[in-house]
């Protein structure tokens, strides 16, 4: 590497020998720490403005309230990194949670859990075959799922289900080392997702499909199989999320269970820096996106702010983050 002065002298050399860091690269680095800094600033301001925010019970509550979001988001993030999307997560969550609840009060915990998982996986299978193997449009297929699954959920259980077995209710309320069981499950799954993306060939293949599906296919990556598998995993994650959520609520309200989760999850992933078209992404940042949204909601509630403000801020931050992403990709092209 050379100093700045030398690199200006000759155009030919500047292609290979650049200064240690250019102002553009510096700007790129600065952009990449905007989200972490925003999160810290936000947490600091909540700490100053409320007494309850920075306490262990509150932070643990944030985590347990978002256990389902975390589980779904980390898998959904992989899907988006490969350039695909699933709009049906909220409704499938509602259906799988409702069906699990129904089975559970009739036939016990395990029957309920298996039913819930089965339904999530079935939807994953359906999406995976139609989109991954047959090449249907992901938006159309999962939009259909979004509408239909909610309808089925309400049809099988018009009213909220409650009265789960004690062992299952305990999953939602019990704690271990200061965190709820469901938080531990969510963190475990998040850890697995981080490892998969950072340390397995599968993680590389997910990104490569997002960057260039044709080239991925031509170098022998099983593109259709990978997409299929990602939808299957998303279905399974949605089911696990549904179980964690009904355990925490200790009820399964078919009409409202999981409503809006598709937006929350998508927002978190996009805030985490995954472009909508895929091909890039970091699991740590995705988790930061989840944490940002969770803390925002929690802090505003503690400050007794109008709940609508939460939505206004989340929406604005999302668009701002998108703006930063545009700037980022512009700068990357010019380096």
């Amino acid at each position: 590497m050379t100093t700045t002065e030398e690199s200006i002298t000759k155009t030919e050399e500047s292609i290979t020998k650049r200064p240690l860091i250019s102002s553009r690269e510096l700007l790129l680095k600065a952009i990449s720490i905007v989200m972490p800094i925003a999160t810290i600033v936000m947490m600091a301001s909540f700490t100053i403005n409320t007494t309850a925010f920075l306490t262990w019970p509150n932070l643990a509550a944030i985590l347990s309230q978002n256990a389902a979001v975390i589980v779904i988001t980390v898998v959904f993030a992989m899907l988006l990194m490969s350039g695909y999307v699933d709009l049906s997560v909220g409704s499938v969550m509602g259906l799988s949670g409702t069906a699990a609840g129904l089975m559970m009060i009739e036939h016990g915990t395990w029957a309920g859990v298996l039913t819930g998982l089965g339904i999530g996986i079935l939807f994953g299978l359906w999406n995976g075959v139609l989109i991954g193997v047959l090449g249907f449009s992901p938006i159309v297929v999962t939009l259909g799922g979004l509408i239909a699954a909610r309808g089925i959920a309400i049809a099988i259980a018009p009213n909220a289900i409650y009265g789960f077995p004690d062992e299952f209710a305990n999953l939602g309320s019990g704690t271990l080392w200061g965190l709820h069981y469901i938080s531990w499950i969510a963190l475990l799954i998040a850890a697995v997702a981080i490892v998969v993306m950072a340390a397995t060939p599968f993680g590389k293949h997910v990104i490569s499909i997002g960057v260039n599906p044709r080239a991925s296919f031509l170098v022998g990556i099983r593109v259709k199989w990978t997409i299929f598998l990602l939808y299957l995993l998303t279905g399974a994650a949605v089911a696990i999320g549904a179980l964690l959520l009904i355990a925490r609520l200790d009820s399964a309200p078919s009409g409202s269970l999981g409503v809006g989760y598709e937006t929350t999850v998508l927002t978190a992933v996009l805030l985490g820096g995954v472009p909508f078209a895929g091909g890039r992404g970091n699991m740590w940042r995705v988790l930061l996106g989840v944490w940002f949204l969770a803390v925002l909601q929690n802090g505003l509630t503690l400050m007794n702010v109008d709940p609508q403000l939460n939505q206004i801020i989340s929406g604005s931050v999302l668009v701002l983050a998108a703006g930063l992403q545009v700037l980022q990709s512009y700068l990357r092209k010019r380096i």
Partner: protein, 505 residues
């Protein structure tokens, strides 16, 4: 003549690389002017300068006593130049007249489109250039040849002074080619505009052109009236016998390794082909000869094929690229940015993408990956050999080394390496290096062969041990590289084109 279009000493450099080294040309109204040149002669840069896509470094373009030193696309079109590319840019669900006026709609005072007037004008234009379909037909219901007609009608509506056609027959069937050539003649001779016709196909030139210019090395080699030109002149002009990258020394070639028997793809065949151990075979063919189709089918990227493919007598029947790779067959596809490079990923990711599982099946091992990368990077002389550099930051030659290097790593047993246009957009220095890499690949280990396709006669002669000529999906000749570029070019010309023109109308 006053309304002659003149290009005077046009130059274009990228950094220190001069692509156009002072081009002088004159295009006359009422004439079809054919522009020929090998890949890298500067044709596309010249066309870019005329269409406004590229700004020349210096020189001038004179149209109607107006002097330009480069255009924006809008200025180019206002000055009266119009260009039609080989890939149509039509909105296929819209009508003919919608497309003719696309982006330049006639509007009423209130901003509504004047559909009826547009239709009427379109019908006039279609009639003037002799096309026999209506203005209200939907584009996707028309044939490819008719769609090309719409492109031309769109240009003609603006009454250009100069119409440029970039390989206009590439996508057309034979009878459509004849109709198009007749149309091109009418435009020049009857409507009276200057037409520039860019092509690789010499029979078309003889059928349609009034004047021919050859571009070589960024300059005009010569310009002659068609009566003073023979096919041999053109071939010699396009590609002189100056291939400085020829194989060195005698190469040893073993017994049969790969056998294709009555091999049929969706476009090619049935064809028979045998590759010997250690041999590099070139498939030479023009655009549309089926060379990519053939290679992609052998690589498992296309499903439909009959006949058999055997390596070492063992018959293979995979139906996917993953299956092909497991069987020892790998492809380096043409069109690097679209089909082989992972643009936003790093050099190491680009090199190792097919091999992550081979290096370690469950958990990746960054140390091993790095070791493999450094090995390949030094083997292929990657510049700069930086693992973390993104693929887009490499020059064409080094990007190609990345995608070729994937299969030279020795991480998989590749018996048959397929390359579609192995040195597309690659500078001459890297080109020689890639040729050497491929030769070394066949020599380093037993049971290896290379099959590549090319439209560049220099490349076929420089790299291949044996050349297979492909026309319309069929092998018409098998020749030794000593046959020379000129002979090869004429072997690959489909003879039927020039006949077709005379027979129709």
């Amino acid at each position: 003549m006053s309304d002659t279009i003149q290009i005077i000493d046009l130059r274009k450099s990228y950094g220190s690389v001069e692509v156009l080294k002072g081009v002088d040309l004159e295009f006359h109204p009422g004439e079809v002017h054919a522009l020929l040149g090998a890949n890298g002669a500067g044709k596309s840069t010249l066309l870019g300068c005329l269409s406004g896509a590229i700004h020349p470094t210096s020189g001038e373009i004179r149209i109607d006593e107006q002097v330009f030193h480069g255009f924006t696309p809008r200025e180019a079109f206002e000055a009266g130049t119009s260009i039609i590319y080989q890939h149509f840019q039509l909105a296929s669900a819209l009508s003919v007249s919608d497309n003719v006026f696309l982006g330049d709609e006639l509007k009423t005072r209130w901003g509504f489109t004047r559909k009826r007037t547009q239709s009427r004008i379109t019908a006039e234009v279609l009639g003037r250039i002799g096309l026999e379909f209506g203005p209200n037909e939907i584009v996707e219901d028309l044939s490819v040849g008719e769609q090309q007609g719409i492109e031309i009608a769109r240009s003609m509506r603006r009454e250009p002074k100069l119409l440029i056609l970039d390989e206009p027959t590439a996508a057309l069937g034979k009878h459509e080619v004849a109709a198009l050539l007749a149309l091109v003649k009418r435009l020049a001779h009857e409507v009276g505009i200057a037409v520039v016709f860019v092509t690789h196909l010499l029979p078309e030139v003889l059928a349609v052109a009034d004047r021919v210019s050859i571009l070589r090395g960024g300059q005009v080699l010569w310009t002659r009236a068609i009566a003073e030109v023979t096919t041999a002149d053109m071939i010699h002009g396009i590609s002189p016998d100056a291939a400085d990258v020829h194989a060195q020394g005698q190469r040893s070639i073993g017994s049969a390794l790969v056998t294709l028997e009555s091999f049929e793809t969706s476009f090619c065949g049935p064809l028979e082909l045998e590759l010997n151990e250690g041999e590099i075979v070139g498939v030479f063919g023009m655009l549309g000869s089926g060379r990519s189709n053939l290679l992609e089918t052998i690589a498992g990227a296309r499903r439909r094929w009959h006949g058999s493919l055997a390596i070492e007598g063992k018959e293979l029947s995979y139906a996917s690229t993953a299956g092909a790779m497991a069987a020892g067959v790998a492809l380096v596809a043409s069109d690097r940015p679209k089909q082989s490079l992972f643009a936003d990923l790093t050099a190491i990711e680009n090199l190792l993408m097919p091999h992550y599982q081979a290096i370690s099946p469950w958990w990746r091992s960054p140390m091993n990956e790095r070791r493999v990368f450094d090995q390949i990077a030094s083997d292929v002389n990657l510049q700069p050999p930086v693992a973390a550099a993104t693929a887009t930051s490499f020059s064409g030659g080094n990007a190609q080394k990345l995608v070729v290097g994937r299969w030279l790593a020795g991480l998989r047993d590749i018996n048959l390496l397929l390359l579609d246009e192995p040195t597309q957009g690659v500078d001459i220095g890297s080109r020689a290096q890639i040729y050497n890499l491929l030769r070394r690949f066949t020599e380093e280990a037993p049971k290896r062969a290379v099959l590549f396709s090319t439209s560049d006669p220099d490349e076929a002669v420089a790299l291949a041990d044996r050349i297979v000529v492909l026309i319309d999906g069929r092998i018409t000749d098998v020749v030794a590289p000593s046959v020379g570029e000129a002979q090869l070019l004429s072997l690959a010309q489909s003879v039927e084109v020039s006949h077709g023109v005379e027979h129709q109308r």
